[in-house]
Amino acid sequence: MKKILIIEDDLLISSLVQFRLKKDGYETVLVKDGNEGIEAIDAENPDLIITDVMMPFRSGIEIIHHAKKVLPDVPIIVLSSLGEEEEVVLEAFNLGVVDFIPKPFNPNELAIRVKRVLR
């Protein structure tokens, strides 16, 4: 079973994503801020990371930096607001994220993208 780490400070959004991914048979780990995200990357060894950009303590960019250092082959999907700075999105892609899903989003669409990335 593939393990997906979801790093999102909005509990309702993260539980919606978790619910949808569990329906597709994935194991999910949920964390609610940047610090917990870094710890979870080290401890959980996930197959995919879904992260927000704007979060307490550590930004999504810092998380991507860390993930690429310790788990360079693990794909990362960024789930963030459309209003985010364009530079931040570009930086995320330059760091090697595989996909960017802007909010508002459809969890079913996210599930399809996750399936495609993990295929």
């Binding site: 909005d10 309702l12 539980s15 919606l16 619910f19 989003f105 459809n106 969890p107």
Partner: protein, 523 residues
């Protein structure tokens, strides 16, 4: 240092002298002793008797008054025991000196004069006897007197407090401040405790909401949610918790927050759930509230959740005195009303700010293709800023069909509005308005004049060229001269060349060089 020590020594010696004086030093004989005792109404455990010698008692009033108490003995008459020195004085004075004898009793026992001296020495040492006369005033005596009276500070202070108005006032103010401070601290503690309780409860409610709402959104279709009854919807949350107002408020925030971040049928589901949970009643209460922040919250809820049934309440706020409320109400009406006739905007009493215009324009641009907007209604508004906004809308939305309606009000509007009209004609390429443009070029209003000259460069005719040349010859400032020459160049390049060659002034040549420079021509 030595001098100081000597002074201290002298002071010590003098004190020693005062303290070392005994009763015999102060009252050296029996006469002075009796004189002293006469001045004391009472000395503890010391009493007197008078022995009258002879067969008869003196016939004085004092003696007769106490006859029945005199006892007869072999020497004469013996008075009863008495303790008052003043009585001693009066009795002795009534009896001849050679037939009277004074007797002293200490602790009820007859005592000699030496015994009385010793007794008094003891009383002086214990502080129970203070000389009434023939005494030297010493610090020790003052201490002894003071020892007789118990110090009662509270009573004294109370009296002082009540008798001194200023002190009483200051004390009252201090008490008031202390009470106010204590009350504030208590109030803050209670307020903080309640707030913490509320925050904790909100967190609990959020946790209660996440599970059921998530599963509902994924497990039920839009139709299934639509068919749900109120009771079924309420049963989603345990223990009737949805009846609590705070829970409903938290639920509203969560649904609206989620609605902003979700796409597709999730939005429809959330809007349906909002109504099924009866949250619309909270929104209605917000709209009818007196506080503007509650109304604003209600308006956001109507806007986000498309609560069309509450539009009549929204309309009541479009002319609110509160900027935020009327902006939100206007935006909500534009967003969710099926028929947008812009009447609410036409009847605005308050001027539209740039921010409001930008905000409304963004919405109108979005809804214009799907809703029939009656922009021309804005031209008839009594509010100048609304009319100007109407002209801008014609320009921004490219409504060429409204040029004729604008033409009819060309001469009726103010000079400031004409600036917007000119910009609109320029933007829409309204050549038929060239006469109006030419008349505006002659205006004394600098902004209108400038915009009309610019517009003439695009839409002008030969008359415009003549006006431009006339205006240049009036020697305008550099910026206007540049706009004039630029418009002339656009209208008729040959006439421009001719004019510059006829008037080869430095400014004209510089402007020509600028306009022909491919890099600078658009700067």
């Amino acid at each position: 240092m030595l001098k100081r020590s000597f002074i201290l020594f002298l002071f010590f010696c003098s004190s020693l002298d005062l303290y070392s004086q005994g009763v015999r030093d102060i009252l050296p004989d029996s006469v002075s002793l009796v004189e002293e005792l006469k001045n004391h109404a009472y000395i503890p455990n010391l009493s007197y008797r008078i022995q009258v010698l002879g067969e008869e008692l003196p016939e004085s009033q004092q003696v007769i008054d106490s006859t029945f108490l005199w006892t007869r003995n072999e020497r004469g008459y013996l008075s009863p025991d008495f303790e008052n020195g003043a009585q001693l004085e009066s009795l002795v004075s009534e009896i001849p000196e050679n037939s009277v004898e004074l007797q002293f009793y200490v602790f009820g026992e007859k005592s000699s004069i030496d015994g009385v001296y010793r007794f008094l020495e003891t009383l002086v040492d214990t502080g129970d006897f203070v000389y009434a006369q023939n005494q030297k005033s010493t610090d020790r005596d003052l201490v002894l007197i003071a020892n007789r009276y118990h110090y009662q500070p509270i009573e004294a202070y109370k009296n002082l407090l009540l008798s001194d108005n200023q002190l009483f006032g200051v004390t009252l103010i201090n008490v008031f401040f202390v009470l106010a401070a204590v009350s504030m601290i208590i109030f803050m503690l209670i307020f903080k405790k309640r707030r913490n309780q509320r925050e904790e409860q909100i967190k609990d409610f959020e946790n209660e909401i996440i599970g059921p709402l998530t599963s509902l959104l994924f497990e039920k279709s839009v139709d299934q949610i639509n068919e749900m009854s109120k009771a079924e919807a309420d049963a989603i949350f345990q223990d009737g918790i949805i009846q609590r107002k705070l829970f409903k408020i938290v639920l509203i925030d969560k649904i609206i927050g989620l609605n902003k971040k979700m796409k597709g049928d999730f939005k429809d589901k959330l809007k349906l759930l909002y109504q099924k949970f009866g949250l619309i009643e909270i929104t209605r209460q917000n709209l009818e509230h007196r506080k503007w922040e509650k109304i604003a919250r209600g308006l956001v809820q109507v806007n986000e959740m498309d609560l069309k049934m509450l539009l009549p309440l929204v309309k009541e706020h479009v002319n609110s005195s509160n900027f935020h409320v009327r902006s939100l109400a206007g935006a909500t009406l534009l967003n969710i009303a099926e028929k947008v006739d812009l009447n609410f905007l036409r009847d605005q009493n308050y001027p539209l700010s740039d921010w409001q215009q930008m905000h409304y324009l963004r919405i109108i641009k979005y809804i214009a293709p799907s809703k029939s907007l009656q922009i021309s209604k804005l031209f008839g508004s009594t509010n100048q800023s609304v009319r100007e906004f109407g002209f801008k809308l014609v320009r921004m939305l490219g409504r060429v069909d409204l040029i004729q309606e604008l033409h009819e009000i060309n001469e009726k509007v103010s000079l400031e509005e004409r600036v917007e009209l000119i910009k609109t004609y320029d933007s829409l390429g309204a050549h038929m308005e060239v006469d109006f443009i030419n008349s505006c070029m002659k205006s004394n209003h600098p902004e209108l004049k400038k915009e009309a000259i610019k517009c003439a460069g695009n839409l002008g005719n030969e008359e415009s060229e003549d006006i431009i040349i006339l205006l240049i010859t009036e020697n305008p400032e550099f910026k206007i001269r540049k706009i004039l020459l630029n418009s002339l160049l656009k209208l008729n390049p040959a006439r421009f060349e001719q004019f510059v060659s006829d008037f080869p002034m430095e400014e004209n040549l510089k402007i020509k060089a600028h306009l022909f420079d491919p890099v600078l021509s658009h700067v």
